[in-house]
Symmetry: C2
Subunit: 422 residues, 2 copies
């Protein structure tokens, strides 16, 4: 089964908008075991859209057209598909009624051209919208399929997952259900992950080659957000696929231990916040080189006020001394990091104090080279834990932005592991 | 003149990497007045890369192949281009010597396959690398051109600007030089910008239509970073184009006034930092709902320690009262914002205090609905300025992240305008 993606919109060609949709669709196709050999961007020009759809159907089994379903005269994906199918566009009364109702419920008058979104190539199946106004389409041309989904990412994603991928899988003649789960890791190199999971992956490969049910494992490097380990299982039923994924997840968590900080969309700050909330602990932060990044990541978690007390961004050395009682020695040092951590916990009345001091560049500071970072964590880590302090020194490469970002996620990860140990 | 972009790499189709390169190239082509009707992603498969290049040359004058020039067996763009041209690959001694020298200077042994990067289709012109190892290529097939550039963004960008765009312009037979400058604005809706610049744009259009030298103006909405106004001029010489752009920039700055905060890559925090540095002023920040975003943006500017004293992220209400002397009333209020601003300036010993307090959601706070934000700025704004305080209330829509981001850039812009007025 092969499926291409056609992203429609002149703004994509002009670089005014980066096409992230086709990358996302490509990932979903790969998870579903569907090959995608070509992905094309084309402008709002009917004859060129038609040519692209025809070519896609000539070399693949299906094409997903993304964008160009809106209400304006520029939105001509519907017309292009009708031309490829050789059919007329009909007004779909149900879709039209829903659009009119949406406008009515928002107390707005509807411009007549919004009804263009209710036009459907004769014979096509409508994918009802649940988030916006433009419905999606499923069209057949012989044994080939043309799908149309909106270009608005959250509308597109919902529709692709609900209707397009299941239809593609059904068309492929497979009765399998495919499920996937992503474990998120921090602190291990991809080569180390491969080593730790090597035996496991080899035995899964062998099972699969023998035609036995077995999930597959893939690594996805995600830059400063760590490396993702994706488990994908294909089975005759959803229950069976889910069982395979769950069992594999348990096995991998066993092998990787605390390097796994979350699953799917759970990021590092959400993982930290969830442990703090469960333990009823609060944290206060003192930041220097990160300038507020640590606080801003923690407060991006909804409900952070339950466990986050605040962050003192003590950029100037005098501020470190005055607000946090840092002594006269160098401010990029283990001693200063400890004083910052204990100082901020006391100043903000937090159970745990966390501090970061270091040199982001472009020039050295306190005789320390660019990339040297000290992290300190102070305070009781759990009901039974006695107050204590731990520190960690990093020596990072990269530019100013990378040093700040890696310092931030490293500090979050250190706190997470400390809490798990506590 | 029409030029397509072919992004090469299986990781792009699988969605492991989002192809931002072709959007960027598309923008440069548009600025240079070159049409780009199709942009294609293809995997690391020689016959499919060959098919894509052939198709591009059949319907356009040129194609820029991006990626697949590295040292591994997967990197086969060179082989595919040689196949299209019907020529062999030869080792280029100069390129090989440079690669060997690069490895030598880094004290690393070079694996032999790195020399694959020195293979050049016979008859092709090498675009020398200045940042990495893989050189670019310029190849002719009759009156058509095939370019190859690396997929690493900063290597690609340098090479496209230095060699590819100039060659395309030369091939187009135009002797014109094209120059562009982007003015960055904040605080005006696109419709207001269009109104303010409407007469100017109409008269430029008229000049252009009469064949007289005239720049063009385009708007690019850039989300929470404001709206960009791009001036592009085409002229017989670089000096003439530069004169047109400079004159137009002055005219637009006159019409838009302080809404223009920077040009090209200068962002809002850099604009603020530059004024503070020039005036010899320092700033301290008190943040609540933004949780450190304001501090982290300001400290992203290299040299921020000259004018940034620190940020107190007072997330808990008690911290606001204890550290900043905020009174007993509601913490989302004008009075609290003023107390935070004056308090932080005094605590951190800064000339200017800036404070943000508000409700980012998901739930209301202090009886204030989600999206209410108070900004306060205190302190002397210049040598002659007396100490004073100003406030601004925002009522923002959007989700938690949007409210935090818009609050942050709004506060930076308010400080910038206040400094300019001072």
């Amino acid at each position: 089964m092969r499926c291409e993606v056609l992203a429609v919109g002149t703004e994509l060609l002009l670089g005014q908008v980066v096409d992230t949709n086709s990358a996302w669709i490509g990932e979903q196709l790969a998870i579903a075991g569907i090959d995608s050999h070509y992905q094309v961007k084309v402008g709002d020009n009917q004859s060129r859209i038609v040519a692209c759809i025809r070519q896609a159907l000539a070399r693949s089994d299906a094409v997903i057209c993304c964008g160009g379903l809106g209400p304006t005269q520029d939105d001509i994906t519907r017309e292009a598909i009708a031309e490829v199918l050789g059919v007329a566009l009909d007004l779909d009364d149900e879709v039209a009624a829903r659009i009119e109702q949406l406008f009515g419920s928002r107390g707005r008058n509807m411009a007549l051209n919004n009804l263009r979104q209710a036009e459907v190539p004769r014979g096509a199946t409508v994918i009802p919208q649940v988030r916006g106004t433009a419905p999606g389409l499923i069209c057949r041309l012989g044994d080939r399929s043309v799908y149309a989904v909106p270009g608005v990412p959250h509308e597109m994603r919902e529709m692709v997952m609900r209707a397009v991928i299941p239809d593609l899988v059904a068309q492929s003649g497979e009765v399998a259900t495919i499920l996937s789960r992503t474990l998120r890791t921090w602190g291990l190199a991809e080569s180390t992950l491969a080593e730790l999971l090597g035996d496991r992956m080899a035995s899964l490969d062998k099972l699969g080659a023998d035609g036995r049910p077995a999930p597959t494992i893939a690594f996805l490097a995600s830059g400063i957000e760590g490396i993702k380990v994706r488990i994908t299982a294909k089975a005759a039923s959803a229950a069976e696929a889910s069982g395979l994924v769950t069992a594999e997840e348990a096995a991998i968590r066993q092998l990787l231990g605390p390097a796994v900080f979350g699953a799917d969309d759970q990021n590092m700050e959400a993982a930290v916040g969830s442990i703090l909330r469960d333990r009823g602990l609060t944290v206060g932060v003192a930041e220097s080189l990160t300038g507020g990044l640590l606080g801003s990541r923690l407060t991006a978690v909804p409900g952070a006020s339950e466990w986050f007390r605040g962050s003192l961004v003590v950029y100037a050395s005098e501020a470190k001394r005055k607000l946090l009682g840092v002594g006269d020695g160098p401010v990029v040092s283990e001693a200063a990091a400890i004083q910052m951590a204990t100082g901020v916990a006391s100043t903000l009345g937090a159970d745990i104090g966390m501090a970061l001091t270091g040199v982001a560049g472009p020039t050295e500071q306190d005789g320390q080279p660019v990339g040297v970072v000290w992290i300190a964590i102070s305070g009781a880590m759990g009901e039974a834990g006695a107050p204590d302090v731990m520190t960690r020194k990093l020596q990072l490469g990269g530019d100013r932005d990378q040093i700040r970002q890696i310092s931030t996620i490293s500090a979050l990860d250190l706190l997470r592991r400390r809490l798990l140990d506590g």
